[in-house]
Symmetry: C2
Subunit: 329 residues, 2 copies
């Protein structure tokens, strides 16, 4: 349980996920049992495979991640992650406090063998389908070796979960030439070029939405800023249309007529549609959703986690990291 619309959206999305896959897996709800049971009672759950683990405490969106994990020993995030470490569940999906989910995963599950830094991937809509941008904010100061690791982990994830064959990897920088960039990206460019990844070279800010690369690598400082900037674009557009409509009544009617089309076109660009952010480089599976996740987003996150587990992505990542570290370290 977690997010601004728990338990409603979480329960609804979870049950939808079970139905859509004919019970291929089981769902374990972690949180305040009475509230979860009450919400479940509002749905037709006959024939659906799920269970509930009680956790009495809630880490709020405003709580400081590490402090909250220490003080609230019985939070749904902590209890769920511990259940994963003990093998009771294979993956944790949460729309709760991003920092707390990430800290709990790193502390309780531990790092994946060979991974220097866990990283969060984020999805971006492009002219040619969705791309994976990482790091999305977990690591603000990075060395070149970290960027290489992000690229390796992102490529494996894109291959197995996003079903992209030899995904094209781009290094986010300020010019296409390999010598363009800051000190870290210049060094990372060399490491990536020498790797076995399908590295297409540097990509610029304008290349992300064009879909030039399917995996875009950068440090978490740049990634977080680009991601949040991108999320705010739709708000600006909505504001501009409102401003336009406010000028006279005819315009108001006209934009009203356009509204459905606009909504439809802009929907493709909404990050919500693409489920949650995978946390890569930890010894387990964690998908982190937006606090405002809809039932549909929750469903997509669960299906994403299930594919992550079914394809045994972490074993592939471990192998790839080991193969690369032989060459470089």
């Amino acid at each position: 349980m977690g997010g601004d619309f728990a338990p409603q959206n979480v329960v609804e999305g979870s049950l939808d996920a079970l139905r859509s896959t004919s019970n291929r897996f089981q769902i374990v709800f972690v949180g305040q049992e009475d509230r979860i049971r009450a919400e479940l009672d509002r749905h037709d759950t006959r024939g659906l495979a799920f269970d509930v683990i009680h956790a009495s405490e809630i880490i709020g969106m405003e709580d400081s991640p590490t402090a909250a994990l220490k003080v609230k020993r019985d939070s749904s995030i902590g209890v769920g992650m511990t259940a994963q470490r003990e093998g009771k569940v294979d993956a944790v999906v949460s729309a709760g406090n991003t920092g707390a989910v990430m800290s709990a995963a790193t502390l309780i599950l531990g790092r994946l063998e060979g991974a220097g830094r866990p990283t969060i991937g984020a999805f971006m809509p492009t002219e040619k389908g969705v791309c994976l941008l990482l790091d999305a904010g977990a690591n603000v100061d990075c060395r070149a070796q970290h960027l290489l690791e992000f690229a390796i982990m992102g490529s494996i994830y894109a291959s197995y979960v996003m079903k992209l064959e030899r995904p094209k990897v781009g290094l986010l920088s300020v010019g296409e030439e390999s010598a363009k960039g800051n000190e870290v990206t210049q060094e990372a460019n060399e490491l990536l070029a020498a790797s076995e990844l399908n590295f297409i070279g540097n990509v610029e800010g304008r290349d992300i939405l064009k879909g030039k690369a399917q995996v875009v690598v950068c440090d978490g400082f740049v990634g977080n800023i680009v991601l949040k900037f991108a999320e705010s674009v739709l708000d600006l557009l909505r504001a501009k249309f409102r401003e336009y409509a406010a000028k006279d009544i005819l315009r108001k009617i006209w934009t009203g007529l356009m509204y459905r089309t606009l909504k439809r076109v802009l929907r493709d660009l909404d990050y919500q549609e693409h489920g949650g952010l995978p946390l890569l480089g930890v010894n387990g599976i964690t998908i982190i959703g937006h606090g405002g996740s809809t039932a549909k987003a929750i469903k997509n996150m669960i299906l994403e986690a299930e594919a992550f587990a079914r394809m045994d992505v972490n074993s592939h990542i471990k192998q790839a990291l080991a193969a690369h570290s032989m060459g470089f370290r």
Copy 2:
């Protein structure tokens, strides 16, 4: 002369600027004289104050900036900048090769007293008017002190040229709290907080378009990526509308009807409308335009340069830098 549409757009925009201000200043065209004269002959130039300085060579958009400046000794960029150093003109406006214009300005005009690094500012549309983002790509690796200088120079520019009273300065980072960010922004936050600027603290990627700050400060690596990303958003929107329209004939007609409104709303977001990018921290005035600058963009760039000169912005910047360096160094 410079840009993809020289001399047509340059001449048209320049003459418009002269007309709109009743010859408050004079324009000197620098470039291949015969081509400029031929273009001028196509306009009614009676009563307009302008002159032409011949420059035989052209630095193309694909030329390497520093190499081209060395080899092409008689380029319009070099000749124009030299004319400024010699006091024949007060400002240079160019839609040519950005790197070459910047290098020429730095080499020929030199740095402004007290400025460690020249910086390029860029305009961003926001929900509350235009904001100035800097550095937009001149300095990929920055120290905290450089970010403070960018903030000082940007504030002065915003006050005098953009007419913003005590412009709100934000430091681009990954969280609002002063401790959030990478090593450089954490240190810069302290410097800015201790300065006399109207510093509102860290701003996040999502705050730029909301217009939370009027001057947004970051290193040139982040600034360049955000700026190019922003420029590409309209392309993605256009692609999405085309994709939507392509599905059936009714939709095609419908989006055709919507087209004018869309164009009008999106026009506000087009960087072209806001003229050129000011180069701050050099001992002179340089406004750099987009290669595809329209006549309107050229006109806006010239008016911007004229305000820059008339308000004696560089003297104010020198004073502000001197005042701050006493407190900090």
